[in-house]
């Protein structure tokens, strides 16, 4: 896959950040059910543990465990305004590559459906490293007793999903989000269900007032997340595939 010069921070600002800022409230209304592995990971944490939710979005994972304290962060102010209701946790606006936490602070961290929005391999590895940096370090290298980080990314291999991507497909895709302007009933099939890098503008007006926003995603292929974790200086403790996503629990080496 060719890396365009345009990819990087500016590219993500246009094709990721500004989109979430616009679709925040509609996006949030569709994101309420926690994924089972994330839920299990959060419930396993001991009472009083301190965690970070990097790219917390609307804060749906902040509702899972009230006996831990989580600092949720997201780049979208509009999503953070929604996320902030979850007690006893706390939310801030921050970039996942410039997190305002002292290194080695947290007992655990999660970063769910976030790292696939970074548009170059180096930035994705940096994002994994940023999550590993804020969890507690091991007592000595290789002991694996440091803090644990759960990372989730969208999988390339999802031929049974409605997107239908699979092995061999282009991994860098633009995924539409249709923001309905009117309540009138629409056909089930969503509009603009095709990806085409750089073909369509960030948003376009539909005749009936619907707006389609395109978000950039890097679809992870099997083994790629584990590889990124290794390059970021982490050790994979557990990993797997769940509902169109690759996930891994990692700890600093």
């Amino acid at each position: 896959m060719a890396e365009l010069d345009t990819q990087g921070a500016d590219y993500e600002a246009e094709h990721v950040h500004s989109v979430y800022e616009e679709i925040a409230s509609h996006f949030s209304s569709t994101r309420y059910k926690p994924w089972p592995i994330v839920e299990r990971f959060l419930k396993e944490q001991s009472d009083g543990a301190i965690g970070a939710d990097v790219g917390c979005g609307n804060g749906k994972y902040l509702a899972v465990n009230k006996n831990v304290f989580i600092v949720g962060s997201d780049r979208s102010t509009n999503l953070i305004k929604i996320a902030k209701q979850h007690e006893p946790h706390s939310t801030i606006v921050a970039d996942n590559l410039s997190l305002p936490h002292p290194p080695g602070t947290f007992n655990f961290a999660i970063s769910i459906a976030v790292i696939h929005h970074l548009s170059t391999p180096a930035r994705r590895i940096e994002a994994v490293k940023a999550v590993l940096d804020i969890v507690r370090r091991p007592s000595s290298p290789g002991t694996k007793d440091g803090g644990k980080a759960l990372i989730y990314v969208w999988a390339l291999e999802q031929k049974n999903s409605r997107r239908g991507w699979d092995e061999g497909h282009e991994q860098d895709v633009m995924v539409p989000w249709v923001l309905k302007q009117k309540k009138e009933k629409k056909p089930k099939r969503r509009q603009g269900e095709m990806e085409g890098k750089g073909v369509v503008e960030g948003s376009e007006e539909k005749q009936d007032g619907d707006r389609t926003f395109l978000r950039y995603y890097h679809l992870y292929k099997k083994g790629e997340l584990e590889q990124d974790i290794g390059e970021a200086g982490g050790v994979v403790l557990e990993s797997g595939y769940e509902k169109d996503n690759w996930w891994a629990i990692a700890t600093p080496n």
Partner: protein
């Protein structure tokens, strides 16, 4: 933003993180608001060992809040033992149908616990800035949300 959050925040600029002066961030021109929340005594006891007490004292002082004791409370300081204040009542053994209102092990928060809860989980910075003691960068807090996005040249 709850004051407890400041215990886990520093400057977002990478080069500041190795400088001890970047922690904690210093609140300035802060508008505080009390947002009441239910007290969770086990939670409070469990986070106690994670508190950077000296830094929390500094923050409280900078916000003009009452002085905190020089040493942090211990878990036992946070509860009033119920076993001594509520001696066993022979009648309770008869009321087997009634669920016990205070199950064994339930503890009453002490004044110290209430104070700590108020300070860390109910006292919120609504407006103001957080200043890095290392580089002087100011992070705005608006409507209770601190913003750590950096201008391009500082990333």
């Amino acid at each position: 933003m709850k004051l407890l959050t400041l215990n886990f925040l520093t400057c977002a600029i990478k080069t500041c993180k190795t400088n001890p002066a970047s922690f904690p961030l210093h609140p300035r021109n802060a508008e505080l608001e009390i947002q009441e929340a239910d007290i969770n005594l086990p939670f409070l006891k469990n986070i106690l060992p994670r508190l950077m007490w000296e830094e929390i004292r500094t923050i409280a002082r900078e916000l003009g809040l009452p002085d905190l004791p020089s040493t942090p409370p211990t878990p036992t300081d946070l509860s009033i033992s119920t076993s001594s204040t509520a001696p066993s009542n022979p009648d309770t053994s008869l009321d087997t149908d009634e669920p016990s209102e205070a199950p064994a092990g339930e503890e009453t928060p002490s004044q110290t616990a209430l104070d700590l809860h108020r300070l860390l989980l109910e006292t919120c910075i609504q407006e103001g800035i957080l200043v890095c003691g290392s580089c002087g960068h100011e992070y705005a807090v608006k409507e209770g949300v601190a913003n750590f996005l950096l201008p391009g040249h500082l990333v």
